[in-house]
């Protein structure tokens, strides 16, 4: 089966799995699509974007927390963004996934755009990743 995870384009030596995808939504009534390199993070219960990615869309805040992250930072939860990524089906065919699960928005631009286990579960997928070869895949079993 081919791979759909790899290192990020900005650091080909990084050992964490990334995948190119998109964030979609609206800004002032017009559709907006932003290219995003999602970091597949099995340590994240929900997906999170940086402040600047969040600012590209008109989103609806629904809640927040001053705590809850490993770094002690806060999060605002917003709806109105679609997360787009891909998985392989059991035959190895690409399946595009578009999810409208609520996302967290960071207070800053530190760190990656995070594709959490919520999205992986939504896609009915599992993650396989080899940090030695920097190859892996999100796939439906």
């Amino acid at each position: 089966m081919p791979d759909n995870l790899g290192p990020p384009s900005w650091n080909t030596a990084e050992r964490r799995p990334h995948q190119g995808g998109e964030a979609k939504g609206y800004k002032r009534g017009r559709p907006v699509t932003v290219s995003v390199e999602w970091m597949a993070d099995t340590g994240a219960e929900l997906s999170v974007v940086t402040k600047d990615v969040g600012k590209r869309f008109d989103l609806t805040p629904i809640g927040g927390s001053a705590s809850g992250t490993a770094g002690g930072g806060g999060i605002i939860i917003k709806s109105g963004m679609e997360i787009v990524f891909e998985v392989f089906d059991p035959a190895g065919k690409v399946v595009p996934i578009t999810s409208s699960l609520d996302v967290g928005v960071k207070p800053n631009n530190v760190g990656s755009e995070i594709l959490g286990v919520d999205q992986i579960d939504y896609a009915g997928a599992i993650i396989e990743w080899d940090p030695g070869t920097l190859k892996g895949r999100l796939r439906q079993p």
């Binding site: 219960e45 629904i62 809640g63 927040g64 809850g68 002690g72 806060g74 919520d118």
Partner: protein, 93 residues
């Protein structure tokens, strides 16, 4: 993130038009309710709700182990209201 840092962040959200004044006030009020019960690191409430996600929405405590279930429940029960939440004894990401 301290309470002051959280308030400053929300104020910036309001200033940029990404959150309304009433949403900020609602979220801070729900946070105050959370802090009154869970504010101290060794509070009995933290022991009782360990490994749960505790939220406050519309002045009511909501508890779940799944963040999306907690959010969906809050939106369904109290549309338009803000939920303040924290995971107790673990991190969400």
């Amino acid at each position: 993130m301290t309470d002051e840092e959280f308030r400053t962040w929300l104020s910036r959200e309001v200033a940029s038009g990404d959150m309304s004044e009433s949403q900020m006030a609602d979220l801070l009020w729900q946070k105050a309710l959370f802090d009154s019960e869970f504010g101290e690191a060794d509070s009995p409430a933290r022991q009782a709700y360990r490994l749960k996600i505790v939220g406050y929405v519309a002045e009511l405590r909501r508890v779940d182990t799944d963040i999306h279930r907690l959010l969906d429940d809050a939106k369904r029960a109290f549309p338009g209201r803000m939920i303040y939440f924290e995971p107790i004894g673990f991190d969400l990401f």
